[in-house]
Symmetry: C2
Subunit: 216 residues, 2 copies
C-alpha cells in the first residue's frame, strides 16, 4: 500500500513495449477504458479486470488509483513533450513553430481524448504529488515554450503583442474541446468518436484561425 515501496515508480525508467509487463498492461487497460467510456471515472477494479490482473497488483505497481492515473498522464504526454523540446531546438520561424505546436497538441488529444480531463483532475489538489509533478513537467514546459515562441514572433514582426497567459487558455481550449466534450462527435458529426480525418481537418482550421488571429 505504501507509495514509497512501489517498484518502477518513474514511467520513463525501465519502460518496455506495451504488453511486456503488468505495468504497461494496466496503463493500456486504463487508457482503452477511458477512450471507450468517454470518461476518466474508471475504477481500479475495472482496470484490473480489463488487464486480466487483480486490483492488489495495481496497488503493487502504482500504490493507488491516483498513482496509476498519474503514470498514465505522464506516459501519454511523454511523446508530445519530447517533440515540443525538439521543436524548440529547431531553426524555424516563430509562426511555423506555433503551427507545429498547435498541431502537436491536437494530435495528442486525438490519440488520448481523455488526457485534458485526466490532467485537470490530477491538478485539482494543489498539494498532491500528482499536481506538483504535472505542473513542473507538463504545464510549465508548455507555458514556457509558448512564451518563447510568442515573444520571438513579436520580435520577428510576425505576431502582434498578445497576453501570453491568455494565449495559453485560448490555445488549449481550442485544441481540447472538440475531443473532450460529450456533445461533439455524435451531435455534430454523427460519429461515435472524432475520427482521424476530422481531427486533422480541425487541426488545420484551428491552427490557421489562431495564426491569423495573432498575426501582424
Amino acid at each position: 500500500m505504501s507509495t514509497k515501496k512501489r517498484p518502477n515508480s518513474d514511467v520513463k525508467e525501465g519502460r518496455q513495449p506495451a504488453g511486456t509487463n503488468g505495468r504497461e498492461v494496466l496503463l493500456d487497460a486504463a487508457s482503452n477504458l477511458m477512450i471507450e467510456t468517454g470518461s476518466i471515472d474508471v475504477s481500479l477494479h475495472q482496470i484490473a479486470r480489463r488487464a486480466g490482473l487483480t486490483a492488489p497488483l495495481v496497488k503493487y505497481w502504482f500504490g493507488s488509483r491516483e498513482g496509476l492515473l498519474l503514470a498514465l498522464a505522464e506516459r501519454d504526454v511523454e511523446g508530445p513533450l519530447s517533440q515540443l523540446a525538439d521543436l524548440m531546438d529547431q531553426e524555424l520561424d516563430p509562426a511555423t513553430k506555433l503551427r507545429i505546436h498547435i498541431h502537436g497538441i491536437i494530435s495528442a488529444y486525438a490519440q488520448f481524448p481523455y488526457l485534458n480531463r485526466l490532467i485537470d483532475q490530477l491538478l485539482w489538489d494543489r498539494e498532491s504529488e500528482g499536481s506538483k509533478v504535472l505542473r513542473a513537467r507538463v504545464i510549465q514546459p508548455i507555458a514556457r515554450a509558448q512564451r518563447t515562441i510568442l515573444s520571438d514572433g513579436v520580435a520577428a514582426g510576425q505576431f502582434r503583442e498578445v497576453n501570453v497567459k491568455y494565449m495559453y487558455f485560448l490555445i488549449v481550449g481550442t485544441c481540447h474541446y472538440i475531443f473532450s466534450t460529450r456533445v461533439g462527435a455524435y451531435e455534430v458529426f454523427g460519429v461515435p468518436r472524432i475520427t482521424k480525418e476530422i481531427s486533422l481537418d480541425y487541426a488545420a482550421f484551428a491552427t490557421d484561425t489562431i495564426l491569423r488571429g495573432i498575426s501582424t
Copy 2:
C-alpha cells in the same frame, strides 16, 4: 420519487426571485457549492444541508439529483439564451453580432464557471431527458445562431468561408477553458478564482483574436 409527480418541473414557469421558495433556495445552494468547490460533484445531501432543507424535499421539488442539475443548467442559461435571441433580432453587422455573442458566452461562464461541465455531464447519456432537453433548448439554438451569423458574415464580405461545426468547438473551447480548468486561476494568475476584471479582459482578447482569425 416519481419524476412525473414533481411540482413545477419547468424552471421557466412560476419562477420567483431567489430565496422566495424551496426550489430557488436549492438551486442557489447547488450553484454556490459548485462555485466554491470548483466541482459539479455535489451531493443531494450537501445541497439540502446548505439550503437548510432536507434531501427528501429535493426529491419533492426535482424528482432526483439529475432533475435538480437539469433545472440548474436551464436556469443558468435562461438569461444568456434570451440575450442571444434578442441579438439575432437586431440590425447589426455580422462581425458585431459575433463579437457580442462571444462576450455573452464568456460572461455566462464567468458567472457560472461550472456551467460547461454541468451541461456536458447532462448531455452524456443521449437518451436521457436532460440530454434531449439541453440539445433542443441550448446546443441547437446556439449552433443555429452561429450558423446564421457566420453565413451572413461571409455574404457581407466580413468573414472568410469557415466550417461552422469547427467554429462551434473553437468558440466554446476558447470561451470556457479559462473558467473550467483547475490550472487556471491559481497557477497562472495567482488568484483563487478568475476575477471579473480578468474575465472581461480575456473576453476582449478572445473576441479580437477570433474575429481577426476569420476576417477576410
